[in-house]
Symmetry: C2
Subunit: 222 residues, 2 copies
Amino acid sequence: MPRRRGPTDQGLRTRQTILRRAAELASVEGLEGLSIGALADDLGFSKSGLFAHFGSKEELQLATIDAAREVYVQEVIAPALAAGKGLTRLCALCELFLSYVARQVFPGGCFFASAMAEFDCKPGPIKDKIAEIQAAWMETLRRAGASAVDAGELGPHTDPEQLAFELEAALLAANWYFHLFDDRSYMARAADAIRLRLSADATKRGRATLATRSTDTTAVTT
Amino acid sequence: MPRRRGPTDQGLRTRQTILRRAAELASVEGLEGLSIGALADDLGFSKSGLFAHFGSKEELQLATIDAAREVYVQEVIAPALAAGKGLTRLCALCELFLSYVARQVFPGGCFFASAMAEFDCKPGPIKDKIAEIQAAWMETLRRAGASAVDAGELGPHTDPEQLAFELEAALLAANWYFHLFDDRSYMARAADAIRLRLSADATKRGRATLATRSTDTTAVTT
DNA sequence: CCTACCGATCGGTAGG
DNA sequence: CCTACCGATCGGTAGG
């Protein structure tokens, strides 16, 4: 089989190494604060050597967002989809998010929370990409909620979009306050808020589902 | 009356002009992204002329936070304290926050939301100051909630600290998504979430208080 | 992937 | 409040 043109395996591995580290640094310093020189020093490359993988800083930033998305899918979305359907999945999405924040998968907290906060008022391709990813995440929450309604776990008057907004609000607030006050108790506050909110819309069947997960709350903070 | 040493009235006015503009720019570009040269150009000063008012960039950042705090007190806290006590005040705090975001008092959204997101993982005097201000804001919400319990508007099982966390979560989420998606409907989502959450803990007297404010929801988005 | 370099801008200073 | 300047670092390029 002839060797194709384009990036070699080694080149792709180097690229992945760069982008994983870039995502870690950007979660703390921001995607603008991420500097090519500092990233190269950190990785032991020359600045131009690193830069050769990307055409511009903006291309590096966009590629970093893709790499962070892969981490997020692996740490939160995929395990939640595998955990079950409906209300079980919705609970798993929330618990896995809180665990991902508590385990500091990214040292600066949720990469996308940081990126959203940094770019929400800066129009351009980076904001567009972040908005697309956040919209997909909200849609993942909404669909799990809608499926829980269909399964009779949440009552028929449930508004899945509103529910997704409120769950996401608690998750984001946990991310900020956990780091700002260096206080893990905000994880439990968010988990309590989420359990209360889900209980409010739950049917008898839904409450049974929730009961099986109630002990998982403390697991989130370890 | 002899003229004292120190800053003149004119100097103080110039300083205030600088800091108001600095807060506006920092809400979009971040407190680190705020550059002394760009700020000076924007205001028509020389860089060093502007810099003479502050000993370092960090001093400028800290002074900018103080100036933003004054705006926040004027726009949100003072009118809410004047609006009433207990549940009335708690509702006013939330409604005034949403209005302050919707009116874009700062062009980049809530100054403190931006600053918290930027510095929550960067230890130092700026993070400390932001944390102190956020703690005071949460305490303002908590006290209004506790006073609503004392007044019999919220039930005795209400946890005012948890309630403050959940209200703040909805307010912050509205701030982010309003800007990220350029969609005012998130203001109404947050107002709905807040009304629902307060209703859950409200006594009959509390529900009467909430009923008088229910039409204010749309006012927030104008 | 490297060395060597570009102009622009950064925070900050000297001296007035 | 200004002009003039400092060394360091920025994103990016030339050429290999």
